[in-house]
Each structure stands twice: as structure tokens, then as C-alpha cells.
């Protein structure tokens, strides 16, 4: 009588790595999405070094208007002129039921930019119906103001 020889057991350890793979996938998705969003909304701007205000709650950034040192206006990676920006903001205000307080807008202006450009944009935004603007700053390193 011939018995079937016993199969050698595998040298591989039976480690349950399902949880680890889940976490690793989550990390990959996190890094991929955050990197993409940062590229889409924030241009490389040297912001004014100010501590800013303590806002009550985490508000959405809304429309992000980047103004480079050369005065070019960049919205969603596209260089646009002031008239187009004003039309875009006016459309957002109309979409919000003509209530400008529902439209969030953040201006990220280069610290060395001439304020004349910022003034033109402020006039355009006021013309579009906005009554306030959020000016992005970079808190100084070390926490001082």
C-alpha cells in the first residue's frame, strides 16, 4: 500500500496583511489627491508675512484668486484678465441668489506686488457685489506677528 507522501508545508508565513494593504492604499490615495488639489488651486505665491485673524470656523476657501508678482491673475491654473474675473464673480453671486455674503473669495497676492493691481481687483470685486474679501497671509515662522 502506497500512501501519498505528505506535502511539504509552504515556507511562506500566513500573515494577514489585509489591514496593512488597506492603510497603504488610503495613504496613496491621500497623497495623490492632496497633491493634485494643491496644484490646482494654489499658485506659487510669496504671501505677505502676517499672523492673520483667528476665524471662528473652518470656512471653505471658495474662489481662489492668485495674483503673481508680475500682476497676472491666476484662477484655477488659468491666467485671466480682470474683466473675466469680475464676470466670474458676478456669476457666482447671481448663482448664490444675489446674496454676496454666500460667496467666498480668497485673494492670494504676492507681497511684493504693487497695491495698484490689488486695488483694481478690489474695485472689480466691489462692482461684482462682494462686500468683503479674504486676504491670504503666511504666518511668520516662530508664531510672532
Amino acid at each position: 500500500m502506497k500512501l501519498r507522501p505528505k506535502q511539504p508545508s509552504s515556507n511562506l508565513l500566513d500573515v494577514d496583511i489585509t489591514g496593512m494593504i488597506d492603510v497603504v492604499f488610503l495613504l496613496i490615495i491621500f497623497f495623490m489627491t492632496t497633491a493634485q488639489f494643491a496644484r490646482m488651486t494654489r499658485a506659487d505665491i510669496d504671501l505677505p508675512q502676517e499672523a492673520g485673524e483667528e476665524l471662528d470656523s473652518q470656512m471653505s476657501a471658495g474662489i481662489i484668486v492668485n495674483i503673481a508678482e508680475d500682476g497676472s491673475i491666476i484662477v484655477e491654473q488659468q491666467v485671466i484678465d480682470l474683466n473675466r474675473l469680475v464676470r466670474k464673480v458676478a456669476a457666482e453671486v447671481a448663482l448664490a441668489g444675489d446674496d454676496a455674503s454666500n460667496v467666498e473669495l480668497t485673494v492670494r497676492a504676492d507681497r511684493n506686488l504693487s497695491a495698484g493691481v490689488l486695488n483694481d481687483i478690489a474695485r472689480g470685486l466691489a462692482e461684482a457685489g462682494l462686500r468683503g474679501v479674504r486676504l491670504a497671509t503666511e504666518p511668520p515662522r516662530g508664531g510672532g506677528s
Partner: protein
């Protein structure tokens, strides 16, 4: 003689070779971690927007006004007749004023954005809740 019945199903999961997949996933993870540049946290200043109209009502610019103007090769802050050259002295001067009427920051075209932001920040630091940004005409 009694042989053990070979009825226990062999686990399919145990034979799944995921080593290559894990290698690739770790490579991807390391790639994204190495190439990601975390952006600096940003703060915000939230002034109101006002337009200065030539034919506006006299009360349009009734509150206290901080003028940010160019003086030679530097930006200065003017509060009434006082000329202040830095943010700290502007904050000290603003603290002497009543908070209730609010303050307008009127910015000339020829100053830098950094000075305009410093003026708004000084108003906030001095305790003003109503701060408005006014482009100088």
C-alpha cells in the same frame, strides 16, 4: 487501516501571491511621500470692501482712516497728521482710538501689498472688528 479523509478544502487565500503587488504599492507610496511638498499653512485677513467715490456722501469715509502711502523709497502709514513708519507704532497709535466706528485702510496704488496687509493686520491687532479696505482713488 483508516486514512484521514482529505475533505478539508485548501484555502485559496493562502495561496494568493501578493508580494509583487505589495512591492509596487510601497514603491508608489514612497514616490508620493517623497515628491509631495506640503504647502505652508495660510492665515487670512478679512477686511470689508469699500469704494471711495468722488461724489460720495460725506459720511462715506466717516470712520478713522489709515492711509498707506509711499514716502520716498518706503511705505508709511498715515493716521491723521501722524506718520508712522512701522506696524508696531501703528498698532500703538490705533489703540488710542475708539473701536466702535471702525477703521478704513486706504491704500495707494504705489505701495506694496505687504504694507497694505500690515495695515489691516495692525487694525486687527489693535482690536478693531470693523476694518474696511478702500482703494485710494
Amino acid at each position: 487501516m483508516k486514512f484521514r479523509a482529505n475533505t478539508a478544502p485548501r484555502s485559496v487565500v493562502n495561496r494568493l501571491q501578493v508580494t509583487s503587488m505589495i512591492d509596487v504599492i510601497f514603491l508608489l507610496l514612497i514616490f508620493f511621500m517623497a515628491t509631495t511638498t506640503f504647502s505652508q499653512p495660510e492665515a487670512h485677513l478679512t477686511p470689508g470692501l469699500k469704494e471711495q467715490r468722488a461724489a460720495g456722501r460725506a459720511s462715506d469715509l466717516e470712520p478713522q482712516i489709515v492711509d498707506v502711502v509711499r514716502d520716498g523709497d518706503r511705505d508709511v502709514f498715515r493716521l491723521g497728521a501722524r506718520v508712522l513708519i512701522d506696524k508696531a507704532s501703528l498698532v500703538a497709535a490705533l489703540r488710542e482710538l475708539p473701536l466702535e466706528p471702525g477703521v478704513f485702510v486706504r491704500v495707494s496704488d504705489d505701495v506694496r501689498v505687504e504694507s497694505a496687509a500690515a495695515a489691516v493686520q495692525a487694525c486687527r491687532d489693535a482690536g478693531f472688528e470693523k476694518v474696511s479696505y478702500v482703494p485710494a482713488s
